[in-house]
Every structure is written in C-alpha cells, then in structure tokens.
C-alpha cells in the first residue's frame, strides 16, 4: 500500500470545510468497503483521505415535510432495519439485502454505494424507480437534484471536487408507492448483479390500471437507467400479466448491455425482460396485500 494523508471530519459542516480545503486531492472515506480495497492496490493513492464516518449527522433516516430523508452515511444494514423504510419504501430493503455479505452491509453506506457509481450498484434502481432526489453540499451551499443526474458514467458522478453527497430524499408523494427490486447474480451470496431492476407504480383506483409507472435498470448501461418507453407503454394500461411481460420486453430493447465473460448481451436482455416483469408483479402483489390488510 502506498502512503497517503488522513483527516477525520467530526460532522457534515467540518467535512465540507475539509473537502474545500483539499479540493481534488481529497478522497472521501465512508464505510470503506470500496475505498480500502482500492487503496491496497492502487499505484496512485489520493493525496488525502477525508474520513467522514464519524459525522453522525449524516446518518439519520427521518421523515420530513419533503419526504423520507436517508443520510448518506446510513449503512445498508441500518436501511434493512429501519421501520420507516419498511413501512414507506420496502423495495429499498430488498435492494439493501442483496448487497455483498453481512459484513459489507454493516459497513457499507448508501451514499458510498451511489458515489462509487458502478453500473451494477444495487442501491440505484429502487431509488430511481421512486424518483429519489439527492442533496449535494459544498463551500458555496447546498443544492437538490434528481438522483439520475448524479450518475455520469462508470465510476463517474457529476459531483466536483469539494462537494459532498449529504442525503437521499424520497419525495413525499412517492412514499408508499408500490415498488419492488429484483437482482440476478451468478450465485446467491455475495454476487455482483448481472442485471438488477426496480419498478414502481400507483394503481389507478377503479380502473385497475398502471398510473405513473417508473422502471429502472442496473448493470445494463454505463449507469443505472430509466426505461421510458416501457413506462409509456404501461401508463394508463390495464394491469395484466401480459402487459407486465410486454413492458419487460420493451425495457430490454432500451438497455445497452455488454457481452463479457460473465454473460452475453443477449442473455442480459433476456434477464431484463424477466426481472422487469417480476418487479411489476411483485409490486402489484405488495399493493394488493396492503389493500387486503387495510380492509381486514
């Protein structure tokens, strides 16, 4: 391992000051499940590691007037155990549960998973299906943007040196929106996603039709992407297994999967069609189970 500098931030404000001070030389350490592995092998270590893992004010999961705020430092394990998330957006728990192993989930953070920005990240699709926003802070203040705009390419986000991802916000109108996440890996434990997907939609009362459908796909393009054509096909359409299957087929044409030694692009497209269909079915099952619960 090559040597590098180290500073620890006490809270979010201190972290932003440190990032402003060190600029492009700084690399942020949160859970460390990606960064530490990288530091061991890299020939070009960062000038300084800014450790934000002690900044407790970046960890909270709280309900506000805007929606559900998930601090960037919330670990996958904390997300899995959050009663708020279980009640308001359980698809995030399915995604968190599929990440790495128990140890990774205890250390790894949702902010770190998003900022590492690998196409196969498991946190991205469910958040994007729920149209999550992110808050980014820098020396010049805070701004809010859609999560999709954070992703630029593999391991590349739109954040500039000095900026910090502070929190993820699921907008209030989308809390409780039926959603589901599915992942296909090459084994059951500690698998990278060959394809992952999430879908969310409201059920148009009375008509039993798809309303405001939202589909997100991972590992099949340079970043996590939406599937707008599949969404447009579903909007207003009656909820049937055939419509779910057709949306899956359309989504498969919208992705740009690669062929590599893990799988061919054709196989990945087959998986997209199946996973999208199953996400839609699981979200619908979740919605109808909830309705039944309310009636009884």
């Amino acid at each position: 391992m090559k040597s590098f500098g180290y500073v620890a931030a006490m809270d979010a404000k201190h972290a932003i000051e440190l990032l402003a001070e060190h600029g492009a030389a700084a690399k942020i350490l949160a859970g460390g499940t990606d960064l530490l592995v990288e530091l061991k092998d890299t020939q070009r270590p960062p000038g300084i590691v800014v450790d934000i893992s002690r900044a407790r004010d970046l960890k909270d999961i709280v309900l506000t007037d805007e929606g559900l705020r998930i601090g960037a430092l919330a670990t996958h394990g904390e997300i899995m155990r959050s009663a708020l998330i279980r009640d308001l957006c359980p698809a995030l728990i399915e995604a968190a549960h599929s990440i790495g192993a128990v140890q990774t989930r205890n250390l790894g953070t949702i902010g770190g998973n998003l900022m590492t920005c690998v196409p196969s990240m498991d946190s991205g699709p469910a958040l994007i299906a729920l149209e999550a926003q992110v808050t980014v802070a820098g020396a010049d203040g805070q701004r809010r943007m859609p999560l999709v705009d954070l992703f630029v390419g593999p391991r590349k986000t739109s954040l500039t040196p000095g900026q910090l991802l502070v929190e993820i916000v699921i907008p209030k109108p989308n809390l409780g929106k039926p959603a589901a996440f599915q992942k296909f890996g090459l084994r059951k434990g500690q698998a990278l996603a060959l394809v992952n997907a999430a879908a969310a939609f409201w059920i148009d009362d009375g008509k039993d039709a798809f309303k405001a459908p939202c589909i997100a796909l991972g590992a099949v393009a340079p970043t996590v992407i939406r599937a707008p054509q599949a969404e447009a096909y579903l909007a207003g359409r009656a909820i049937t297994p055939e419509a779910m299957a057709e949306a899956g087929r359309i989504a498969a044409t919208e992705a740009k999967p690669i062929s590599d030694f893990r799988a061919s692009a054709d196989y990945r497209r087959d998986l997209i069609a199946v996973l999208v269909k199953r996400c839609l079915a699981a979200a619908y099952a979740r919605a109808t189970a909830k309705t039944k619960e309310r009636v009884s």
């Binding site: 296909f184 084994r187 030694f261 061919s264 196989y267 087959d270 998986l271």
Partner: protein, 338 residues
C-alpha cells in the same frame, strides 16, 4: 416458472495407488502416564485426518482418543509421508499407524506377561489396561506397564512401521495390472428447481450414500461428504477458469471465479453404507475426493428431468441452460405442423 427435477449419479473411486511406491511411516510411543504420542508425516488440511489417525492409534492401544497426542507434518521430526493426496491418508497412513501401535503394544504385552503371570499371547489392551483375555479383573494399567518396560526391562514401548500398498507393475505389453489397492462406491441424488425463464438452477437437496469401509469417525465422514458436495455444486454450475488469447486468466479473483457460498448450499442428507475392507485399518478405506465425483452428474441429470435439456459442458451456467431451453422450444415449434 420454476420446474423441479431429480437426478441420480453413481461412482466408484480408487484408494491407495499401487503402480508405484506409495508408503507412509509412523512412530508410536507409549508414555509412562498411559498416553501415547504419534509421529506422522501427513498434513491436516481441515478434513480431520489427525483426529482419525489418533483414533486408530487409540483403538490399537486400548486407550481413549483423548490420550493420543499426534505430532504431524514436521519434516525435522516426523517420518516421511507420500502426502495428503489421492484420498489415501486414512487408508495408507492409518495402516502405518495401526502397525506402529501394534509394535509398541507387543512390547507392552511382553512386559505385562510376567506381571500378570500369563503368556503375552493371552493378553489384550482395553480400557487403558493390559488385561488377560476373558479375565478383565486380572489387569494392570498401561501407564504402569509402560513404566516397567522402560525402567525394569530397559525396553521403552516404542513402535515404528511403514505401510505400502503392494506395488503391482503394469504389464508392458497389455497395459494391464492392478492400479489400486481398493475402491469405494457412492450414489448421490440431487433435487433441483430450474427457472425456465432465466435458466437459474437452485439445488434444493442432495442425498449422498457413500461406502468408505468402516467409518472411523462418522461425523467427519459427513463433513467430508458435505464439503465435497459444495465443490461438486461449483463444478456443476459455477466454477470455470477463463483465459484470454494471451493465456492470462481473466477471472483470477473470487468476485469473478464463482464458487458456491453458504447461501448456495442445499439441504444434504449423508447416508454412510458401512462395510469392512480387510486391507484397511479396522476396515476403513477413504472418502475425501469420492464425495464430489457424482454431484455434478446428479445435478445435470436433475436439470434434464426438470426442463428436458441435456447440458454436456461444465459448468452448466444459467445462460447455457436458458439457451438450451430456447433451442428445445424452437425445435418443438418446428415439429408442430401449421
């Protein structure tokens, strides 16, 4: 849709090669407190072989397995061993330890004969005692006998021995011979669920019925079989070394060289078919490698039973299976006249 299937596979596997020298040697020393020390060159790799070898020495000396201290795999101290290879440790090294213990016991019997006023041939070693056969009340403790042998007779009770399965040269003209000393047999049945939309295989249950001669430590036999099955599942469905055109491995890490995790393991039922091989130590043969031999074949037969496709190259990845399912469906569609 998930479809279930079952498959059966059988195997035999050779134990103790005989085409070339295949020796193990051992030293067994009986101590004045009634315990024993075993020196063996073999290596414990987590399979529990030193426990089994200690049990063999204990059984031969009539003492408890706890009384045996095994010193292994230190080439400054221990005799040479051909290796923890070819599922030979219990069989070959076990035989050497049994013989070394018998040699040490012969000194104990010669010492105890005059003490109990019988011929050495009338003695047996049981329950940490040397006793007269048929008259267990006429006995003296092994520690006592060991002390007498050392300080009275001046013949410390130490035995050493080596064992080599009889080498049988191959007939240079016909290529025939007797390549192995003995064989073990097994049958495994796999129950799987195949997702016919993704090709994913979920191994639900494996029932493994194994012959290993006398199971000296049944729980370790179960452990060996379960471990072998995990390797068999990797062999069947996941593990593959991939190389680029320059011959460099492109998946030289455990992220991309896919092996089963604990979550990929099915329920396993191990059935030990007990029998006695007269050439093995107390009838034992071996079980290490044999445990993974039938697993892949059973799983692939189960896949065939579930979705009707025959995969003929390993690993049977989900992509390969889905491709085969699609080809089968396309073939069926062609056969239906319009």
């Amino acid at each position: 849709m998930k479809r279930r299937g079952r498959g059966i596979a059988c195997m035999w596997y050779p134990i103790g090669f005989t085409v070339d020298a295949n020796p193990s040697a051992a030293v067994v020393k009986v101590n004045e407190d009634g315990t024993a020390t075993v020196l063996t060159g073999t290596v414990e790799t987590g399979q529990g072989s030193l426990t089994v070898l200690g049990q063999i020495a204990a059984e031969a000396l009539g003492i408890a397995a706890d009384d045996v201290h095994v010193v292994s795999a230190d080439t400054d101290v221990t005799p040479m061993d051909t290796g923890a290879i070819a599922s030979r440790t219990t069989y070959v090294t076990g035989n050497a330890i049994r013989l070394a213990a018998e040699n040490a016991k012969a000194i104990l019997f010669e010492t105890a004969g005059p003490m109990l006023q019988v011929m050495p041939s009338q003695l047996e070693a049981r329950d940490r005692k040397i006793q007269v056969k048929g008259f267990p009340q006429r006995s003296v403790s092994i520690g006592e006998v060991a002390k007498r042998a050392q300080v009275g007779l001046g013949r410390p009770p130490i035995g050493s021995a080596s064992w080599n399965p009889p080498t049988v040269a191959m007939d240079p003209e016909t290529g025939q011979g007797k390549p192995f000393s003995t064989y073990v047999y097994a049958t495994q049945i796999a129950e799987v669920e195949v997702d016919d939309e993704t090709g994913e295989v979920d191994v639900l249950r494996i029932v493994a019925s194994h012959d290993c001669g006398t199971p000296i430590n049944p729980m370790l036999v179960e452990g060996q079989v379960e471990g072998g099955i995990s390797m068999g599942i990797g062999f069947a469905l996941q593990e593959e070394m991939l190389f680029n055109a320059q011959g460099c491995q492109i998946n030289p890490n455990l992220t991309n060289y896919i092996m089963p995790t604990s979550l990929d393991m099915p329920e396993i039922v191990v059935d030990i078919v007990e029998n006695y091989d007269p050439t093995g130590p107390f009838g034992a043969k071996g079980v290490g490698e044999p445990s993974l031999v039938p697993t892949a074949a059973a799983i692939l037969n189960a896949i065939h039973d579930a979705v009707g496709v025959r995969i003929t190259s390993l690993p049977a990845t989900s992509e390969k299976i889905l491709t085969a399912i699609k080809a089968k469906r396309a073939g069926e569609r062609k056969q239906v006249p319009a």
